[in-house]
Symmetry: C2
Subunit: 282 residues, 2 copies
Amino acid sequence: MTANLKILEEHACFGGRVARYEHASESCHGPMRFSIYLPPQTVTGRVPVVYFLAGLTCTEETFMIKAGAQRYAAEWGLALVAPDTSPRRTGIPDETRDWDLGSGASFYVDATEEPWSRHYRMHQYVAEELPALVAASFPVDGNCQALCGHSMGGHGALTIGLRHGHRYRSLSAFAPVCAPSRTPWGQKAFGVYLGSDEARWRDYDTVALLKARESQALAPMLVDQGGGDPYLERELKTQWLEGLGGGALTLRWHEGYDHSYFFIASFIGDHMAFHARHLGVT
Amino acid sequence: MTANLKILEEHACFGGRVARYEHASESCHGPMRFSIYLPPQTVTGRVPVVYFLAGLTCTEETFMIKAGAQRYAAEWGLALVAPDTSPRRTGIPDETRDWDLGSGASFYVDATEEPWSRHYRMHQYVAEELPALVAASFPVDGNCQALCGHSMGGHGALTIGLRHGHRYRSLSAFAPVCAPSRTPWGQKAFGVYLGSDEARWRDYDTVALLKARESQALAPMLVDQGGGDPYLERELKTQWLEGLGGGALTLRWHEGYDHSYFFIASFIGDHMAFHARHLGVT
């Protein structure tokens, strides 16, 4: 275990253990927290890992408590890692004023604007620092990674995965924010974190990234969207994914399902099976 | 749907729906809340039902969010009902002062002492009023019921189930408070709710009830206990169940597991399968 890691809590779970850690992040210049689930198969060796990025207002605890993914991870022999959704307590003024900006609302970008640019570097943190730390500290195979997320975290999973395709065997999302450069939550956050040059926003926009990569080989992607999601029309625009991804993207619609973790729990088993297949454990 | 029921929220979940309701309770002389999961099988008819009683500080939301039981309920075709752990906002002075007394801490008794006796009638509410309301309002078979619970709610499930054996096909508990008349949480609560005559406490004490029913036929019971549970020695005394129940009681020990919902989630599938078998759906 890396000396840098401070354990906050630990629980036996489905024959393995779920734990929560804090560490000093170089990317974010301050403490960051994450949860990890290590399945029983880690007793005999390293296992593939699925990272999960949560949505607005969530923390590193939410996914492990609400999604019910550990059961499937224990069946397939997959580790799960869920980082917090932003740095916290950075001292930035008004960091906690808005629920859709600052604490709990990083949008998984590397901020370029003051006063955010020193701490809000979640793209680098998720894509590079955290996987390196996890692979160095736990019985996890850093060459066998997948990425999943929900809402703002679905946006994070798809954009990070598309920009670092060599790092991830497969990507998936529940109700992702698909085009944040063109929808209100994203425009508010990108304007503050990235500044007014909208050309730079496209690096963090799934629809724009998919269009720019039309001729490239992409990691397999699974996206689930509830037809009863109240954020679909204004913020998510999941329908804009239709026809994109050149066959690598599977988009499924689920009538009546909303934006909640009851939706995620209902289909997380399919996502775990999807990632297990591409991570080579089936 | 009974006019008395006010819906608070509703979500699609594993092909069925999970919902939360408030209603005016006659037993508790005030509003009470519960959650219900109706599996997809309710489209074609009435289904058996498993009631779940949660522990100290929990609400009617906790079990549906944290236990991951809906997946199994959908597989077996079982409804789930989780009431709140006490009346709330009754106006009783200091009702919310202690985490182990009053709000969130009913101990599922019918209080006899002032100022609690008018509202804190959870035994009657859980055993009689709520099942009648549920059977009248939802596609649930009121003659095909099981009862499960955790900690204080494990105590509730076993004591209510033992005293109303004809109402339940099977009983189960996670880390139950087994002998509250002889352990600190229970003694504090019983002294306040039931008064100082300890003979009356035995009606709400699983160990005492099992000993008093040694020669009777009992409903099948499954109890799971974590070996790493920090409340085991002082408050739960699950080891005192060893040898009781005349063969009807199965007690399982799980090394390393604690008192959390990560423990419940790990074994709730076994409990659902146990109840499904005794409810006749397998």
